[in-house]
């Protein structure tokens, strides 16, 4: 994309016009997994008669909702060159706190607020560990908090679920609008749109990219790097809280072992979506396509009666394949080979 643009730049530096073809190529670069989703979709439509049904699509989207929200926060962390391994445990802890509020009889929307606020604050705690204690990499700090949060869940509940969620939570997790559209899917799409705008068009959004691209340059250009990082992890926590809300609404309970291993799926969605693991590069449309690819794949494997054990193997293969395709596309393969 840049290369074609470069050629145009030499020929006519005054104006930068992009042809429809280049635009399409750019779109493909951003949403490469969409092609894979289409191929997979066609394959599954032929192989199984249950794939192409409205009921099944509802299923896919509802299952994708929680992971999808978590993937947004993960993407923010990865954009800054970091990672958030605590997402699953953080989600569980914020829902447990919500469950405690419900048990204590807090009325109306208070439990919802507890869930979201605790998600945000626990995330901010991750960010502060990184910026104030200057721990070398968030891999370490969030691996630590992952254990702390999970342990706290178990301590608070003695290992047993809390059931009976308030109406607002159940609405978010399991009701439909216009008869067929799950509310959780609407929340997912709305949040993706909001974050798309946030990342592209706000100062904090742009600062996230620059901090990931070159922290020193960002700092010397007046960017408040610490604030940016704390906000990234806090927003990741907030998204975990929201994901927990949707999950709790779907199953009408909160349980302390929720979300184990979810960080892997979230990272997979982000990386399949084309974000760079070194930070500074990635976009929301890519992450969304990565998410849908994983969800359709899981769904298809279920429909084809493939065992969960085998599913795990296949998902792992897809992650490696997706990253490899990305390497080849960026010409990195040729470079690596030569050196």
């Amino acid at each position: 994309m840049t290369q074609l643009g470069g050629a145009a730049g030499i020929a006519a530096p005054e104006a930068e016009r992009r042809s429809a073809l280049e635009y399409l190529k750019g779109l493909l670069d951003k949403a490469g997994p969409i092609v894979a989703i289409l191929i997979l979709g066609i394959f599954l439509s032929i192989r199984t008669d249950r794939f192409l049904t409205a009921q099944n699509f509802t299923n896919i989207v509802r299952q994708a909702a929680s992971i999808g929200l978590i993937a947004i926060g993960m993407m923010l962390a990865i954009l800054t060159g970091g990672i958030d391994l605590s997402v699953g445990a953080l989600m569980a802890l914020s829902t447990i706190l919500m469950g405690k509020a419900v048990q204590a009889g807090w009325p109306g929307l208070w439990p919802v607020l507890v869930c979201l606020a605790s998600g945000f604050l626990l995330g901010a705690f991750n960010g502060l560990l990184l910026t104030k204690l200057k721990l070398p990499h968030p891999f370490i700090s969030t691996m630590g908090t992952q254990n702390i949060f999970r342990g706290a869940c178990l301590l608070l509940t003695a290992g047993t679920p809390i059931s009976g969620m308030p109406p607002a939570v159940k609405w978010a997790g399991s009701s439909f609008v216009a008869g067929a559209l799950p509310v959780s899917a609407l929340i997912l799409i709305l949040v993706y749109l909001v974050f798309g705008f946030f990342l592209r068009n706000t100062t904090l959004g742009r600062h996230i990219y620059v901090v990931g691209g070159n922290t020193t340059t960002a700092r010397l250009s007046g960017v408040n790097v610490d604030f940016t990082l704390v906000m990234v992890y806090a927003l990741s926590g907030l998204m975990c809280g929201l994901a927990g809300l949707v999950l709790a609404g779907r199953v009408d309970a909160v349980y302390p072992m929720a979300g184990i291993g979810w960080e892997t799926d979230a990272i997979a969605a982000v990386i399949i979506g084309g974000s760079s693991f070194f930070g500074g590069r990635g976009n929301i449309l890519g992450t969304f396509s990565g998410l849908i690819l994983i969800s359709v794949l899981r769904n298809g494997l279920n429909l084809m009666n493939i065992t969960p054990d085998m599913q795990t193997v296949i998902l792992g293969t897809v992650i490696i394949l997706a990253v490899f395709i990305d390497v080849v596309r960026n010409g990195g393969f040729a470079k690596v080979k030569k050196l």
Partner: protein, 503 residues
Amino acid sequence: MDGSPPLLSLRGISKLYPGVRALDSVDLDILPGEIHVLLGENGAGKSTLIKTILGIEAPNGGEIRWKGRRLGAYGIREAYAMGIAAIYQELNNVGCLSVAENLYLGNEIPLGRLRGTVSPSRQRAAARAALARVGLAVDPAIAVERLGVGQKQLLEIARALDRKAELVIMDEPTSSLSRSEIDQLLGLMAAMKAQGIAILFITHKLDEAKKIGDRVTVLKDGKKVGTLGIAEADEELIIKMMVGRKLEEKYPRRSARIGAEALRVEGLTGARFRDVSFSVRSGELLGLFGLVGAGRTETLRGIFGADRVAGGAIYLEGELARIERPADAIRRGVSFVTENRKEEGLTLIHDVVENATLPSLGSFCSLPAVVDQGRRYAATMDYGRRLNLRPLHVRKRAMDFSGGNQQKIVVEKWLMTGGKVFLFDEPTKGVDVGAKTEIYGIMNRLLEGGAAVIMVSSEMQEILGMSDRIVTMYEGRVTGEIANGPEATQERLLIMATGGGLE
């Protein structure tokens, strides 16, 4: 040397990148034991030529001969094995490993004859001899990260010599060295030449080329302009060959009116500078001169809030300014064009728009914190045009621009903040002659617009050519101040900058 067959011979080498002809049918002969100087503006194709010789880039056309034998496609490993070595501008050694380990990296000395083993003691012993050959007196057991830039360079040369390199490519080796280090390096190069080793020497400094080179080849726009014997190559002719026109004046004149005091520092003290005091007025260029390591960069960083200062005061337009972080300085109209544009000035993977509008992002917001994309694109184009950014293609990533144009992007980002005090740290380092004059022109326009400029430079000519007033530093302290007039001679500046007697 005449009549001997060339060591390396390039014929009709072309390299195409999509839309760009980086090398256009270039011929080049390097003779055994000659120091061949390669000159050219940034973007003239020097880097591509080096990469082609090293086998990092495969040419699209032409042939390469090594000692008369025609080479097929080859990679960097084969190039090393043949006897070609490269000393890069950005040195690539492993900082946490020892000097000896770096010296034999990829070529380890085994325990006895056991392949795959390493004998640290034998490596250290061998390293001592190898280091002595290049005049590097350090303990081979210490970590490389403790060496200075010049020492690391010598280590790389020791490595090349150890591998029996017959052609050593040196990519601007002197650009970050102090005067004495440069002299040491040039001496070593002469000794290598005497041993029959050929050197391809890329530099921007014409005086070094004159001093040590045998022949000079000039590239421009991917084409070879010509090869000259060093005796025929006078400065004016070379500049004309490089830029295709005559530079009327290396240091353009300005008509800035020197006004009120813009910045004053009093007793500023930090980790590597003590009790530094000076001031600069609007419309005035203050040159800050000293040897590498004199604390000039650190002083600028202190003023800008990039490092903590331990004491002292900073006044902006006569008012005491509390600057604790770069954001404070930027808000008060202070800009800092850093020395290392790649590490500190740019995010290379992002486009020009992102880089240029980073410090001023807030001013492109329509609603609070919502960036107006159209406006920041238009402004980046506008400033890019004024700075003669080439190519004027602001959606290209910063990494795809040549060094001189990258520097323009850094300058652009600070111009867009509308600052009143500009701190320039080695603004023309690694920048070719043509782009240098353009950068001086930009500084002059800033001064004419009423800005104050402090320029740190290790090039005495640049300091003398551009400054209104000069402050010298030595070992972290101000050692003198002088108006740039007849008394400001090179000798006097050098005495001041080496802590010698003030009068």
